[in-house]
Amino acid sequence: MRLVRLYFEEVAAAIRCAFADRANFAIQVGGMLLNNGVFLALWWMFFAGFRSVGGWGLADMALMLGLMMTLFGLCGVLLGGYRDLAATILRGEIDAILTQPTGVLPRLLARESSATAWGDIVGGLVVLTLFAHLGWRDLPAVALALVCGMAVFASAGIAFASLAFWAAGARSFARDLTDFTLLFSSYPGSIYRGAVKVVAFTVLPAGFVVMLPVKLVRAPGWESAGLVVLGAALYMALACGLFDLGLRRYRRGASSAG
């Protein structure tokens, strides 16, 4: 309980940091809203012409994009340290945290909060509310989808960034992998086939970030809920395990970081 309280106090501090320069905050949030608006307008124009893609209509697409934007925004606000975790590792900023009596990974995740992420949250909630054809009864499934999607997306970011414990060049590689996951999560799941689908459910886990969660919201059931939760648990375990392995390597002095 103490650690949960500490975590949220650190997140609150990180949010205050993001708000510290109000003009910058407003520009960043406004820019992100504009960016998301243009992106949605393009999909809207697309569906005006084609009606459906692989069985997905505009409402399904809005649900997927709304979930993606919201969970991406929530990750940026609540777990913002994942975004440049590789650089934090490479700069040796872990040292100061290692001299304090708390877990390292939660402290690293809580210490940053992205201003642009608020634009994603607002944009995502608007899309979910206005275009995804959701009712009150869908709310529990949407909440579960968001929490599990966040867990998988942040876990993927942590796992990619943990490669920095082994290779100094992992910073840009980790960013590329995170961007690819985001890209994979921005297209209808039904278009992925064969090897690409395998990639979407393994290395770049877009399948667990939004595709399965969309299924859960559209056709709620214990099986789909179980799959979503299991996927999130597995990716979290993988990310924590990889980070822990890397941290041990760092503390042995075998890492290129520091």
């Binding site: 500490l6 106090e9 940091c17 510290a20 040292d95 304090q100 042995r252 002095g253 290129s256």
Partner: protein, 324 residues
């Protein structure tokens, strides 16, 4: 007999890295090179003692500090800090030590220092009353009242370092590790930090282990000095003895409009220098600095005077030369 605060026996840390061959061959092949950052050191630090570890870059000072604070695991040997093995009991030890890495901050740059301190209270699970009492004490003694509500990012380096040290003391640690605490600071800020660390440690019976490049940090804060080179201890003796042997020198630089200034006093050596500049090396065991300045002023034509300690590299060079 009291147990020492720190006991180190044959502590070693070896790093290995890939060294590439020169030119195009380096793309295809590399050899693994090992480097003994700390090559088997033994020492003890008594409770309440203030000890400096000094040495040139790469001598193993910071690596030793990181091992003793639980950040790094050693390659071999043993260490006990306040009765705990630091790398095995990192979290338990963290409640009892304070650590300041001069070039790494534990404060939030965009927030007022007070907010960072409050977060640290949560980190160390400290009771509100004891936290407020200690913060009040430290604020008063370190003169922080005016900057406590200022964002850390807008502070001068000296103000930031005062806040860093305060942050490391708020939970009342028995032992303080300071890694280059005065690096990059001006003379006034350095003096404030030295006075504070020394007085606070003396008043609270706190053990201090610091690394520094600045001989004045050692002279003014510590009672004992451990000199390391290439991961080994070359000298371990009280500061008084070291001062008598190696720290009794000053370097005075005189700028003049005309020719170089000659000062003919025992214990004064003139170093080669550029036109209009005279560099005097003064052995303070033979002659006082003010006597040298007076003699120089008497010669006339002086436009500027600088008095400095010899660089740490020179002091260490002297020590190495003396100990073979």
């Amino acid at each position: 007999m009291t147990t020492p605060a720190i006991t180190v026996r044959q502590l070693r840390k070896t790093y290995s890295y890939g060294r590439r061959a020169p030119g195009w061959r380096g793309i295809l092949s590399s050899e693994t090179v090992t480097l003994d950052a700390v090559a088997g050191v033994d020492f003890e630090v008594a409770r309440g003692e203030r000890v400096a570890i000094i040495g040139p870059n790469g001598a193993g000072k910071s690596t030793t500090l990181k091992m003793l604070s639980g950040v790094l695991e050693p390659t071999g040997g043993s260490a006990e800090v306040l009765g705990l093995t630091p790398w095995r009991a990192r979290q338990a030890l963290a409640y009892r030590i304070g650590v300041v890495f001069g070039q790494r901050s534990q404060l939030w740059a965009e927030l007022p220092a007070r907010d960072s301190f409050r977060l640290l209270r949560r980190v160390y699970d400290q009771e509100a009353a004891s936290f407020e009492r200690r913060l009040g004490e430290l604020t008063e003694r370190f003169g922080l009242a005016e900057i406590l509500n200022q964002p850390v990012g807008r502070m001068s380096l000296g103000q930031r370092m005062r806040c860093e040290i305060t942050a490391s003391l708020l939970h009342g640690p028995e032992l303080l590790f300071l890694d280059e605490p005065t690096i990059g600071l001006d003379v006034t800020a350095k003096a404030a930090i030295r006075d504070f660390v020394r007085d606070h440690a003396r008043d609270h019976g706190q053990t201090v282990l610091l690394t520094s490049h600045d001989t004045r940090d050692i002279e003014l804060v510590c009672e004992r000095v451990i000199v390391v080179n290439r991961g080994r201890i070359v000298v371990d003796q009280p500061t008084d003895q070291l001062r008598k042997r190696f720290l009794g020198r000053k370097v005075i630089t005189l700028q003049s409009a005309g020719a170089a200034i000659a000062v003919d006093l025992p214990g004064v050596t003139t170093r080669p220098s550029q036109a209009h500049t005279t560099i005097l090396e003064v052995d303070t065991r033979q002659v006082r600095v003010e006597q040298v300045i007076a003699a120089a002023l008497a010669a006339g034509g002086i436009e500027d005077v600088t008095i400095e300690d010899p660089p740490m590299e020179e002091v260490i060079h002297d020590i190495y030369a003396a100990v073979g």
